[in-house]
Symmetry: C2
Amino acid sequence: MQPVVNDRWRGSFSVEALGSYHYTIEAWVDHFRTWRHDLEKKFKAGQDLSVELLAGAELIGQAIPQAGHGRDADLQTAVRMLSGKSQIPISAKMSVALSPTIAELMERFAPRRQTTTYTPELRVTVDPPLARFGAWYEMFPRSCALEPGKHGTFKDCEALLPRIADMGFDILYLPPVHPIGQAHRKGKNNTPSILPSPPRPSLSPEGERESPAAADDPGSPWAIGSSEGGHKSIYRELGTLEDFRSLVESARKIGLETALDIAFQCSPDHPYVREHPEWFRKRPDGSIQYAENPPKKYQDIYPLNFETEDWAALWTELKSIFEFWIEHGVKIFRVDNPHTKSFLFWEWCISELKEKHPELIFLSEAFTRPKVMYRLAKLGFTQSYNYFPWRNAKWELTQYFTELAQSGVREYFRPNLWPNTPDILPQYLQFGGRPAFIVRLMLAATLGASYGIYGPAFELCEHVAREPGSEEYLNSEKYEIRHWNRDAPGNLNDLIKRVNRIRRDNPALQSDERLQFHETDNENLIAYSKQTAAANNIVLVVVNLDPHHVQRGWVRLDLESWGLKPTDTYQLHELLTEARYFWSGARNYVELNPQFVPAHIFAIRRHVRREHDFDYFM
Amino acid sequence: MQPVVNDRWRGSFSVEALGSYHYTIEAWVDHFRTWRHDLEKKFKAGQDLSVELLAGAELIGQAIPQAGHGRDADLQTAVRMLSGKSQIPISAKMSVALSPTIAELMERFAPRRQTTTYTPELRVTVDPPLARFGAWYEMFPRSCALEPGKHGTFKDCEALLPRIADMGFDILYLPPVHPIGQAHRKGKNNTPSILPSPPRPSLSPEGERESPAAADDPGSPWAIGSSEGGHKSIYRELGTLEDFRSLVESARKIGLETALDIAFQCSPDHPYVREHPEWFRKRPDGSIQYAENPPKKYQDIYPLNFETEDWAALWTELKSIFEFWIEHGVKIFRVDNPHTKSFLFWEWCISELKEKHPELIFLSEAFTRPKVMYRLAKLGFTQSYNYFPWRNAKWELTQYFTELAQSGVREYFRPNLWPNTPDILPQYLQFGGRPAFIVRLMLAATLGASYGIYGPAFELCEHVAREPGSEEYLNSEKYEIRHWNRDAPGNLNDLIKRVNRIRRDNPALQSDERLQFHETDNENLIAYSKQTAAANNIVLVVVNLDPHHVQRGWVRLDLESWGLKPTDTYQLHELLTEARYFWSGARNYVELNPQFVPAHIFAIRRHVRREHDFDYFM
């Protein structure tokens, strides 16, 4: 470790494998270096060193046993020299005392007495690159059939894989693929059941309806479990376990990992309800407690009781759900609402799983208070959803991403940026038209090394909410099967492909470190840059946040952060349009038209002047 | 505990006795309050509550065993009501469910399951008021004789007590009062011994000189120990243990506590050297290692080896030195160079001593790196010397005292501000004349709730250094006996008395909390204020840091921090001159002449206008 300033020290080690490293710091008084340091000063002051040299011989002698035979020769010689009689010239003694060889041997072999060890032990977790950098694509398999009106299957998904891979995505994320409960099943647009609530509803053999949900409503994939099975089963309309495995493998072959949704909750028809009623909370009338957020009731969902007396069995079973899907090829899990489950459970479960499978990635879907989200990250979640969907203005984007990229949070919290999800159609997308979708895509893909879209709703700029003020989609896929014309006019496919290409070509965009905001004189223009540690790739992004009007203004770049002088000239390579510009100095003009593309993504190339050489760009 | 914002909670408890309090935080899910909260929402939504009320009855029933007979009546009734048949109207059930009595009983008696306790335990130390607020006066007893040329005694000190108390000091601090070694004794102005260094010097019976120090040189009080005794002995020229005890008691009677200097180091003549040679480091030639800071040698001082094999005996003996002086009435110790001794020792020693004597105060004389000083404070030192002597410019005073008063450091580090010490005559005092002394007095006494002066050198503006560039006094009392004419013209006695009076009259100056700097437009003018927690005493200080010239400029006061509006008029009562001013608004003019008094100390009185009343000041 090397001293920095003000009693701060710096040290580093390289990590070479996935998994958890534990480390700590041990401190001791280095008597040999202290002696050497003082000896030099006394020598320079011309003092008598006879006693000092003897003291050094003593110190060196103490290291001999530890060095042992074969490695102690130099130490033995040093002891003889330093404790030798006066015929040995002082200059020879000094050169032994100060020799780097002896210093190095002493560093290795000198006894360390009264050492102090820092507690608690520190941990660093080494995750795979996809934990840091990846583009996610969410889609509902049941909406993937080519023919309208048909229930999509894993085979249909497989047919779509080349298209998704070609758009440059890295991860295909599927909502739950399990059997869906019948009891209190939700209809289109979340139509509620109107049955008198208790007792527990049942579907008669004739298919008599108990709720306005039509007989063929497919229900919400998050109402997991039916008589056909629970979290370890595949809904038969989607295909078989074999089909699922084939999808995962085909995806992997073309560079796509499959992420599965893990939602620890049950429909009233889930086998657990029958087999393990003790895993649920019971109401005083003997019924099982359904989910609620008073006065809202979610009677199609039973939460699990993590504090049940039988918690050990429950926790083990839940962990085995992950294990089941890991065996079927899944390495990435998107975890539904982890903040409403036991934190001790997550800490235990994730650490157990990662011990065997350090390549696993867990994306936390916790839209909750900041400290709770950060806590889940510390407990083991690899990535997290965050407030990006609701950060639209320049000041709030700047403030939030400065916190994420520059405060202590960045050491453990990795944001994954989603402009939309099946649960979130932000107001900005509802009313900003196609330009709004492009703005949010640019921000997500460049502010976040990890980002994702809920497609094809995003590609097709689907923007109609269920009702005014709602963030729910009208005719949401959560409650019905949709049929998408992925090539409909106005789709964003080419632009998404280009942005993903730029992300892959520019390492600066593959990390959230070194994000830097730059001043602009127009509140609708946001400017920020990212660069690699070696500063050999610098990307500057300027976005017009106003989806309705042309915005223009001056950007003041922090050139120093890029290693440029205020007078330097540099080239900007616009990566969306392939245009090239030369800029000089910090202050430069930008104009962005939302009807064209409301953003610039520039690669900055520094103009380097070398002696005896012509100018060139590096 | 009450929630504040963003998952921060606040709670408090009152401390009632001196000593250490240990506390921690326990958290649990409050099922009853959750139930009550949800019940209210469901009631407002007009939902059927029959099952909910049963659930509440169950929760309340669980608290009955804990409440026990005599205190469970209300709980029993509530259970009966909530689980009662429908003849009980819902309004009656709701009023029981939401009643404050039941809430309070549940808070006390509801079982707390799966609680989580914060580790580690936290500690708060309650020190006596003198730890927070006090004016210290350092003097050498041997220079207190009325007759020039005589060695001062404790009796001479006793005669000076009324004068020191009258000046408004709270603590009389004495350098070491023990026998002083002969070996390598330092002469006037630190004249070094010129004897060939080893072997250990000795004074022949005839008093043959070994160094240029004259036969009657008294030596440095920090070279502790002679054949007459060590750290538990009184140097016979000063008087007896009885005289010492009498001094301490007489001082206490007039409101002065006596602080003793504890310097854990020995002269070569100290009895420990003979009786416990294993407590010192041995050099390879068999001699004992003297203190050094290469290439400087301090052959009159042997450091103790805190890492000796016999450390347990050494540590116990050192602790017994404190205990000895505690028995002789001392409650305050100024500890010499604690940072060069074992930190584990201090932590152990101070906590053992304070367990028996929580009223003790330990002032750390650690002029070293900031983190080391802060560490000593955390280990148990009550107060600390600091960088004040070398902070002269406005920006450095502002920066340093902002760190001390506003960063986390303030929770454990209490600065004691000394404009001079026997070791430190800062350049500013050497060349600024009498105004410089006044400036530094004002700053020390108002920036620091604890401050001290080394008198009478300070009162008499003693400013000549031993040589150019040195911070050592010429003819320092450390090496010779001085005779002071305390009433010499130009003395600062009256001013010091006035400043100490102002400190006692104004509670705002009795704490380092709520220090606030205010802007000025002149780099030579510094302005700051302190106020009490209740804001019923506000003191504003403006100092001209330039001891040579009149300085004038505008002060911009942070009126909001005082609870004033920008348009308010307020009265300034100048406490040094008794002048009164009315100011209005934030920006006001100040002019200070160093030839008069280069500082203002204002009490701020707010101008309060009440309806149906005439204006008055509160």
